[in-house]
Subunit: 381 residues, 2 copies
């Protein structure tokens, strides 16, 4: 077991109607004015916007608002938020939406406290040392952004999809009401399930040290995601399934699964980022294409863990069966499993590989994941 | 899934030699003077005391010290600590030892900020609203006190073994170096294993709502505890087993396993507290006596979960087999499984039941766990 530090100070307020307390939570934290950040209007249609505003007013929290955050969130919007904060003496960022909104809120919160260009943090030119407090009310469960310090942003100009990770941008408090997630489309439910499984298996397969307990936790997460996804496809109103799905999404990327592991990496996320950067594929849809291809390419490097996966999740000791069954399950829930499924032409592979290799270099994996290697993996997709 | 709040702001510094950084961690937290609290001298014999003092001196952290905390820690020692803090302008408590030392540190930290009698918190006469920061360096893994807000103290005068639970006394930071736990006797290793299993199964069996994910986590903890305990009995120097044991001990009682459950309680702990209060039995030893007896008495009230337990842990679908195999496993690792094993006479049962019933009333379970019912359970032991 490898030495580690574990620190996750985010408070989770989980359950029905908790969004109505958001004003109170802000007030208890001493916040008087927030930036209310959201996406492209679905929170207005659902009535969530009105509930949030009512709770803010009731607790005398002033706010400015910024909407228009898109999935695969953009740096230009982050910079807009930073300007708004500077011009209005705003003390905190309140993200209402999915992972993209939460990720944007974190970048805004860090950028507002930094004299230079916020993109410096993403290209390792500067380290985050402080940030405004971030609060979230989540309408989608997948990224675990609600309980970690990660933020992934696309630079509109360079098309780079890069990330930061800092406990300074961990949300102070996140509200998770599974009822707010009822309106997620079957398509996005599937992409979310893929994303959660991706978060779970990256280190599980790539770590050189992976304690049994970590494997057990990962398998518990995967079993629960698969079980609850199938329940929700059949019955989107099943509250308990929706709630378990939301809670395991958080556990998959809040620091628990890697604790004590060594040498793990996120190659599937790395390669996928090029798909969503160049083809604007949804992150989960890109992952369901990349994962089976990567697994076929990688399996011999850690065959024992691939056999364990196959056995624990699908009841077979053959590594290939596990890969095939996972790919079939992705297809069954409606996620694309080939580049063709997502209308990405074979001729695009070279550009994707070059883009992904740029990120590989940033993440210190440029040698292992050369343009040639990434091309070889994507050919399998 | 039941509504819940999850908040655990304790930072864990886990791994080899981390105790040498304790002065630095305190210094980074802005602490200039601590109360160094420990037990009955084993940290001096092992050399840990010298390492801690060297690290404090190196980082210019002044300290007063208080030793003599015993297992089943006493209120009189807590009051001694509170006086020391008041007389010496001490800013934080540093616990070096096992759960008893950490629990005492928390009571001292809360009491030092309170004008009345610290016991008021334990008998629900007052609520904790602030506390001095607590830091720990652990030499034993069992109670998870290193990552929760719980403290169990015995009132020397009344013989009541009562507890508090408040996030204000969660350690700010805990150092877990599994190497410091190598010298734990086989006896105490067994008691610790029982304690961790007890923390895991109380809510698992008693909750009216218990999501599948929670069951999977609990089963992951139990499997890992049993696996690593057997490795450590055979080879006390196995670092990885020692480390996994220490980490799952924390997961068993840091707030993760109950999140989203409803209606769970801690009857085995409640009954056990009377054994350690009246007969000074080690907590884990008391639990290994109480648990099989309680399981036999309780199983029909949640037979499906008892069958699940039996199946997941021991590969049988018969609830009785699970109970019997768990009892046999406790005996195999050297834990007592009957009152006679701990030299507690049958005539003592009535007094034990009366003491436990007092705690049951405090915990709002006085009706269910009457003196007669507790007597009936203990008769099975």
């Amino acid at each position: 077991m490898h030495n580690f530090s574990y620190y996750n100070p985010t408070k989770i307020e989980f359950g029905k109607e908790k969004e109505n307390n958001i004003g109170q939570y802000l007030q208890e934290a001493g916040i008087k004015k927030v930036l209310l950040l959201y996406g492209t209007g679905s929170i207005q249609k659902s009535g969530l916007y009105d509930k949030i505003v009512a709770s803010l007013r009731k607790n005398a929290i002033a706010f400015e608002e910024l909407s228009g955050v898109v999935s695969n969130p953009l740096l230009s919007k982050v910079n807009e938020g930073i300007q708004l904060i500077r011009n209005n003496d705003i003390e905190a960022v309140l993200a209402v939406g999915g992972g993209s909104v939460a990720d944007s809120a974190k970048a805004i919160a860090a950028g507002a406290k930094y004299d230079g260009d916020v993109w410096d943090f993403f290209i390792n030119k500067a380290q985050i040392t402080e940030a405004l407090p971030v609060f979230t009310v989540m309408t989608l469960s997948a990224t675990a952004s609600e309980m970690n310090g990660n933020s992934v942003i696309i630079n509109d100009d360079t098309k780079q999809k890069y990330s930061i990770s800092s406990v300074f941008v961990n949300p102070v408090l996140s509200v998770i009401n599974p009822e707010l997630m009822k309106t997620v489309t079957p398509e996005y439910l599937a992409y979310s399930a893929v994303d959660i499984i991706a978060h779970s298996i990256e280190i599980y397969f790539t770590a050189s040290t992976h304690p049994h307990f970590n494997s057990r936790i990962v398998e518990s997460i995967i079993k629960t995601v698969m079980e609850t996804t199938e329940i929700l496809i059949a019955n989107p109103d099943d509250y308990d399934a929706r709630a378990e799905f939301a809670w395991v999404a958080i556990q998959a990327l809040n620091g628990l699964t890697p604790a004590g592991t060594e040498g793990g990496s996120f190659p599937n996320h790395m390669i996928e980022h090029s798909l969503s950067a160049l083809y604007n594929v949804a992150h989960g849809a890109g992952l369901s294409i990349v994962i089976p291809a990567w697994m076929k390419w990688y399996k011999e490097q850690n065959i024992a863990q691939f056999e364990r996966f196959s056995h624990e999740i699908f009841g077979s000791k053959d590594a290939d069966v596990g890969i095939e069954k996972l790919q079939n399950w992705f297809a069954k829930i409606g996620a694309p499993v080939t580049l063709a499924d997502a209308n990405i032409p074979r001729e695009g592979i070279r550009d994707l590989a070059q883009n992904a290799n740029g990120l590989a270099a940033m993440w210190g994996m440029g040698d292992i994941y050369s343009v040639e290697t990434i091309t070889e993996i994507l050919e399998k997709a």
